[in-house]
């Protein structure tokens, strides 16, 4: 069965043949963040793909990760292109480095996941929360249910983590 979902009025769809993406989002639908771990080198990768990004080999399993990490860059959107986001400005697109596998296999690599900044219950974060998050903020994954067995992973401020006194934020206007 293909996955069908809806998020902020946008139709989402995962074809049956798109096996890697389908598995990823089905795990999300169960509240699990799982990534491909490649048999040849033991490394995790993101986003899902048909071969190991390091050596092209085909064999992998799905391993759960904790889903905690640090914001390493972000885009604060003030002009929405998609109608779905026009009522939620500004919103954050966060680039999050997971704690797992940071600096591996080389110092410049990491598991860098993209998602929106949301409230703990998965709604796009309000402006005052957007204004408090920047590079260095510790976040954890939350899942926004968009259909049956289908969820999108997003990020919320990790209440349990030690936070930087002031995350780095864009200083312009």
């Amino acid at each position: 069965m293909p996955l069908n979902g809806e998020h902020l009025g946008m139709k989402l769809f995962v074809d049956d043949r798109d096996a890697e993406n389908k598995a990823f989002f089905e795990f999300c639908g169960r509240g699990e963040l799982r990534l491909q771990r490649w048999k040849s080198n033991g490394l995790l990768s993101y986003p899902p793909g048909a071969g190991s990004p390091w050596d092209g080999t085909p064999d992998y399993g799905w391993d759960a990760v904790e889903g905690r990490g640090t914001v390493v860059s972000y885009c604060e959107v003030h002009h929405a292109i998609q109608p779905a986001f026009r009522d939620s400005l500004p919103y954050h697109i966060l680039l999050v480095e997971l704690d797992e596998q940071r600096g591996r296999p080389t110092e410049h690599e990491a598991l860098r996941l993209v998602g929106n900044l949301v409230t703990p219950d998965g709604e796009l974060a309000p402006p005052e929360v957007v204004a408090s998050v920047g590079i260095g903020t510790r976040v954890r994954a939350v899942f926004r249910q968009v259909g049956e067995d289908f969820a999108l992973p997003h990020w919320t401020v990790d209440e349990a983590a030690e936070q930087p006194s002031a995350p780095w934020r864009y200083q312009g206007t």
Binding site: K11, F13, G49, V77, I81, Q82, R112, H154, Y170, T173
Partner: protein, 419 residues
């Protein structure tokens, strides 16, 4: 781990075609925000103008190429409207970073004996037709890769590239004021270019007080989408000798060179590194010159920040010093190495890279179309007086570099010399 390792290109090997090919003709339509016509109509006009510029007849061109994002007219149609019988054509998918790559391919097909002379065009209704990142008017179901981007409100180039820009500010202290200078200096060139869509000079304050689009980008940090067609003609240096203008000799080309990991440009770090970091090791050895030898640059300005990142990674300044380089006067008219002297995508018009190559061809000829008076021979008498409404010709311009951008992890480049 050999992930993403590049095979060494045999720079300066006997097969190197440095100096053996040239751009001999350039042409374009007006840059507008409402062409009111088809890409076919505009494409034919641009090709016709490039032929006239070169002093060629339609029958002299037997190869044609174009690039598009499913938004244009293909070569056989344009060729037919021009009365050409083509021995070769190829229309490829792509936007920014395509033109330099196609110039390299044109050299290859001529060298292979497949045809003699190639016209390369890009015709697009970039303002009123297909828009990069979508217009928001039509929203098909999101699937595949889009589930990791569009589902997060990440569709436009500004939203996708911002991670690289923001990280650069964080790591190197690059300031909004420094970045805004790119727009300021490009507007200087545009003010001396009768073709430019935006010909007003702007200030740093104008840029920073324009409305925010996606931090760190303001409206004036973003290029102006326009409707237009552009064309250039590649042939052998031998044939170039009989044509109208001093040819722009091609010293070196890099085509769609990439960082490791195409899937998401920030997966392989440093996040602030762009494809030029890899491309430069092909570009400069093949050209036989280095950044210090270059008189004028055409660093792709989809955004102010893309210009900065490329100039840095191609070696025009040290990594992290791009903010200083673009703001200290170097890249402005009258500076040591002006960039995008016609105004680039930020001011002249949006062509997915072609207009920056066209401008550098004219710079190398010493014949940019500024406001300087025409002499008795019909040529511009350049004053090298760069105030608004004056000259934009770079003095003693011998070597140019074009740095094409597709994504932070995808770039093409071209070095040319006068001759």
């Amino acid at each position: 781990m050999t992930q993403g390792s590049l095979k060494d290109v045999e720079s300066a090997a006997p097969g190197n075609l440095r100096d053996k090919y040239a751009i001999v003709g350039v042409g374009e339509t007006a840059y507008t925000r409402d062409s009111g016509r088809t890409t076919r109509h505009m494409g034919v006009e641009a090709v016709r103008n490039a032929l006239a510029d070169a002093g060629l007849e339609p029958g002299d061109v037997d190869g044609m190429m174009s690039y598009m994002v499913m938004d244009s007219t293909m070569s056989p149609t344009i060729g037919a409207d021009m009365g050409m019988r083509l021995n070769y054509y190829m229309d490829v998918l792509g936007g920014g970073s395509s033109i330099e790559a196609l110039i390299g391919l044109a050299i290859g097909v001529i060298e292979a004996g497949m045809c003699n002379t190639v016209a390369i065009f890009r015709s697009m209704n970039g303002a009123t037709g297909a828009r990069m990142g979508g217009s928001g008017r039509v929203a098909p179901a999101i699937s595949g890769d889009g589930l990791f981007s569009a589902a997060n409100g990440q569709t436009s180039p500004a939203q996708i590239f911002a991670h690289s820009f923001m990280r650069h500010m964080y790591e190197f202290g690059t300031t909004p004021e420094q970045v805004a200078h790119v727009k300021v200096f490009h507007s200087w060139g545009a003010s001396n270019n009768p073709k430019a869509y935006y010909s007003q000079r702007v200030t740093v304050d104008d840029v920073l007080s324009s409305r925010p689009i996606a931090y760190p980008l303001h409206l004036l940090d973003c290029c102006v989408e326009t409707d237009n067609a552009t064309c250039l003609i590649v042939t052998s240096a031998e044939r170039a000798r009989d044509l109208k203008h001093t040819p722009a000799r091609i010293l070196s080309v890099v085509g769609r060179c990439m960082k490791p990991r195409m899937d998401m440009h920030y997966q392989h770090g440093p996040i602030t590194r762009v494809a030029g970091y890899y491309a430069r090791d092909i570009l400069w050895p093949n050209a036989g010159v280095g950044p210090e030898d270059v008189d004028v640059t055409g660093s792709y300005d989809a955004f102010s920040f893309t210009t900065l990142l490329q100039l840095e990674d191609y070696g025009f300044c040290a990594k992290g010093e791009g903010g200083d380089y673009v703001s200290d006067g170097t890249i402005g008219l009258g500076g040591r190495r002006p960039n995008n002297t016609a105004g680039g995508h930020l001011c002249e018009g949006y062509t997915h890279g072609m207009n920056m190559v066209i401008e550098n061809v004219r710079q190398l000829r010493g014949e940019v179309d500024d406001y300087c008076p025409l002499g008795p021979d019909g040529r511009r008498q350049h004053t090298y007086e760069y105030s608004e409404g004056g000259c934009r010709q770079v003095r003693d311009c011998e070597i140019s570099a074009n740095l094409g951008w597709g994504m932070p992890n995808l770039g093409s480049a071209l070095v040319m010399r006068k001759g």
